[in-house]
């Protein structure tokens, strides 16, 4: 476990690039994968990825795009049955022709969007989607709870993307939110084969290993590993608590019928016994509510961050691969002798790859601090909300028992008056 925490803000590092005049970014061969023009100066590049402190979190007051995911409906075709979700977008952004859109999307469409975003921005941290299908526990694909949990996660996913300073301005995101039919958009971009090629190269490079990873990324890598362990533990503990609570509730429910049964044989005691039965029932209901909160509110967030941790690790790997590709080509270049013509071409390739490394690293640096901040906000608010819910639970139970106690004291007060009269 690394003792060194990851510094939250990398903006100081980015300033170095301004002063480094050796860095050349003129290149025709590399461009941003989604077609937008390549920034052609170091400073503009830095500006693209630099995040001012106050822009790290999307300011809710300056939000100019609002997305909701709701209204899941079953869609039946000859081949399959699936759920369609309604995605409503309200925006004042100029790149949108209209200010309101409504489309229907299925889970596969979300998968498509995310994979495009990851392709185009390999070292940005793209929020995860809810898992395809939960195997453990008898969760059916069309079970109401499952659909609702998924809907909420999809809603959060789109909102996370919309809050991202870079990801929310891509054409794929726009198409997802606005196009009636996504099919034509799905055919664009680097095809399956080129993606295959990338994967093969990535594997080859990872086998070779990295020459030297900059310290800052090693620190990030370690953090990603550790964070992943910890958030998985928290997730597991929470699941266990839910399980224990459920079992507790099952037993607790036996109290009320037992007290009620006792009422039958008593006279003077009947009234307080009825009170006990009622208290137990109320406490049971409160416990049920508490369990719902845990499993519907806290657990899904924890689970999302379990998936985020995997995303972090994947991002680190991709960054490493980009660096490895450059290093391989660079070595080939350095060890080459003769053939001037081919040498120039290779030099161009190497330069392009070097730029790619630079871009990837900057992208990651910027996004890292944004992600950390966002994670902190999300988890803090989730834990606070859970703690609040627990306080509420005990407050409600307290009220139940205090009211019972009050009723008993009133009774005995009356009795005492009766005795003395």
């Amino acid at each position: 476990m690394s003792g060194q925490a990851v510094p939250a803000d990398f903006s100081e590092h980015m300033l170095d690039l301004d002063e480094d005049e050796d860095l050349e970014v003129f290149s025709k061969n590399t461009s941003l994968a989604d077609g937008s023009p390549m920034p052609n100066s170091p400073s503009s590049m830095v500006n693209q990825y630099r995040l001012e402190e106050d822009e790290e979190q999307a300011d809710p007051n300056n939000k100019d795009i609002f997305i909701t995911v709701d209204n899941p409906e079953s869609h039946v075709t000859a081949i399959e049955t699936f759920i369609m979700y309604r995605v409503v977008t309200k925006t004042t952004r100029s790149e949108f022709d209209s200010c309101e859109y409504e489309v229907r999307r299925r889970y596969q469409d979300f998968l498509w969007l995310r994979s495009r975003l990851e392709e185009n921005h390999p070292t940005l941290i793209v929020h995860p989607l809810p898992e395809k299908f939960v195997m453990k526990g008898m969760v059916e694909r069309f079970n109401d709870d499952f659909i609702e949990t998924r809907r909420r996660a999809l809603h959060r996913f789109l909102n996370k993307i919309s809050e991202h300073p870079i990801l929310s301005y891509g054409e794929h995101f726009k198409a997802f939110l606005t196009a009636e039919d996504l099919a034509p958009h799905k055919k664009q971009g680097p095809g399956f084969l080129s993606r295959m090629g990338e994967t093969v190269r990535a594997v080859a490079n990872s086998v070779r290993g990295l020459r030297s990873r900059p310290e800052e990324f090693t620190v990030m890598q370690e953090y990603a590993e550790n964070f992943s362990n910890k958030i998985c533990s928290v997730d597991r503990v929470t699941q266990r608590i839910i399980k224990e609570q459920r079992e507790y509730l099952d037993e607790l429910k036996q109290y009320s019928p037992t007290y009620t049964q006792w009422v039958e044989s008593e006279e003077d005691l009947a009234e307080p016994l009825k009170g006990m039965a009622s208290c137990m029932e109320h406490c049971g209901k409160e416990t049920e509510e508490q369990i719902h909160h845990l499993s519907d509110s806290l657990l899904p967030i924890l689970h999302e961050y379990v998936l985020c941790a995997e995303t972090l690790k994947a991002v680190m790997r991709r960054r490493d691969n980009i660096q490895a590709e450059f290093e391989t080509k660079n070595e080939a270049l350095l060890s080459r002798k003769g053939d001037q013509e081919a040498g120039w071409q290779l030099q161009e390739e190497v330069d392009g790859l070097a730029d790619r490394v630079e871009l990837a690293n900057n992208a990651l640096r910027g996004d890292w601090s944004r992600w950390l901040s966002s994670m902190r906000t999300d988890l803090r608010s989730a834990f606070v909300s859970s703690a609040e819910k627990n306080v509420e639970y005990y407050e409600k139970c307290l009220a139940v028992w205090e009211s019972f106690l009050l009723s008993q004291r009133e009774e005995s007060g009356e009795q005492k008056e009766g005795d003395s009269s």
């Binding site: 476990m1 507790y248 208290c279 606070v384 627990n390 306080v391 028992w401 008993q408």
Partner: protein
């Protein structure tokens, strides 16, 4: 002031503002709803102060370990300002001696609902609690139960006057002999044997039948309640203890975080506090379980009184039946008619009538027997009526005591729940503040 050294009284006081009235605090400290009215209690204060382990040879000359309990008795007197109380008289008793005392009381006062002893072995245990008789928590709870038993007997209008009970509290050495000298063993054998035998009463007393039903129902429902309680306690323990894992994980996690670290770490501490709090909570709940158990065991005593009444009733009916039979025989002999088939009748028919003299001898004997029979019936009748009278007095007393005690127990349970909720609110409010600092 009766000191029921329940040991849990201090915890009750510490639980914070549960708005206990002074009367209720007093009741919480006193284990039993003790009537101060009995002559014995006006004179003495009774405590079961301590428990100690002893080893010795038992009846089969084998080494055994057992627990003895220290009984303290001191005259009930007001202590002058600044003065100290006179030291008490003390003696040691083991559980089996308590059992002997109780058996003696059961036999000697069959019409009294004799207070029960605390359980011999731990039952209705939730699994974290030890079922071992030598476990210190069990011994402590038994100590409290034994004191409760003595106080109940001492506060009973009839039982408190018993000499053997007095000697139990005051004579360590000679007590066993004194009990055996009363000869209760003989009564015990015959009475207790008959109680287990099967017999049917022709005209059962409706009140006793109803009482027996009630005591059976109470037994069933309290057993069920104790079972539920044990299972709930088990589960609740699990819930609280798992939160301890949060403590551990948050602590580890805080080590890899910068800004979030402090908040996580301190929240983790509160999770540990939460997990630890269940031990005290459930220990207190044992007290509620013990109060229920006392009445569970009381139902056995009630049932026993009903059965004894049935036995007396049955004996009365048998005696009356025998008398009626004899009277029938006399009538036959006097009038010479045989209404009831009897071997004598048949033989006299077969072998000729008896002489007048023989008849008169028989008649005289029968008269005598009938007279004795009538005396017996009168006696049994009186016995039965006295039993019923005495028993119903005690039953009414018991019913009042039961209602009062159980109501008190329910109130105490509510107070415990309130305390538990307040602890929960405290811990989670603290945790929330820490999370806010994340």
């Amino acid at each position: 002031m009766i000191m029921a050294d329940s040991g849990s009284s201090e915890e009750v006081a510490v639980i914070g503002n549960t708005d206990l009235t002074s009367a209720e605090s007093e009741n919480n400290i006193i284990n039993t709803m003790v009537e101060r009215g009995t002559a014995l209690l006006r004179k003495m204060e009774i405590n079961v102060a301590e428990a100690e382990k002893r080893t010795g040879k038992n009846t089969v000359n084998m080494q055994e370990t057992y627990t003895v309990y220290l009984i303290e008795v001191r005259p009930a007197e007001t202590v002058p300002e600044g003065g100290t109380q006179a030291p008490p008289d003390t003696l040691w008793r083991r559980y089996s001696e308590f059992e002997l005392l109780r058996t003696y009381l059961l036999v000697t006062y069959p019409y009294i609902i004799v207070p029960p002893l605390p359980e011999k072995r731990a039952e209705f245990v939730w699994h974290k609690l030890s079922a071992d008789n030598l476990d210190p928590d069990f011994v402590e709870r038994r100590r409290v139960g034994l004191e409760n038993f003595l106080l109940r007997v001492a506060s009973h209008p009839v039982l408190s006057n018993d000499k053997i009970f007095f000697l139990f509290l005051t004579e360590e050495k000679g007590w066993r002999e004194a009990v055996l000298e009363t000869g209760f063993q003989d009564k015990a054998d015959s009475r207790l044997k008959s109680l287990s035998a099967m017999f049917r009463v022709k005209n059962p007393d409706k009140r006793f039948t109803a009482l027996k039903h009630y005591s059976d129902e109470l037994n069933t429902v309290i057993s069920q309640l104790l079972r539920v309680r044990a299972r709930v306690a088990d589960r609740l323990y699990g819930v609280y203890k798992v939160h301890g894992n949060y403590g551990r994980v948050f602590s580890e996690w805080s080590a890899i975080e910068k800004e979030m670290g402090d908040g996580l770490q301190s929240a983790g501490h509160h999770m540990d506090t939460y997990a630890a709090s269940i031990d005290d909570i459930l220990e207190e709940e044992e007290h509620y379980a013990d109060q229920l158990k006392e009445y569970l065991f009381y139902t056995d005593a009630v049932r026993s009184v009903c059965r004894k009444h049935e036995l007396i009733q049955y004996e009365l009916e048998m005696t009356a039946q025998e008398l009626a039979h004899k009277k029938q025989q006399k009538e036959e002999l006097a009038t010479g008619t045989v209404r009831i088939f009897s071997l004598k009748g048949m033989t006299s028919k077969l072998f000729g009538q008896e002489t007048q003299e023989q008849r008169e001898v028989k008649l005289a004997a029968l008269e005598q027997s009938i007279q004795e029979g009538e005396e017996m019936v009168k006696q049994k009748n009186t016995e039965c009526q006295e039993f019923v009278q005495a028993a119903w007095d005690d039953i009414e007393r018991f019913k009042e005591q039961k209602d009062k005690d159980l109501r008190e127990a329910l109130i105490n349970y509510a107070i415990m729940q309130i305390s538990m909720c307040k602890k929960g609110i405290q811990v989670w409010s603290n945790a929330k503040e820490c999370f806010n600092k994340m």
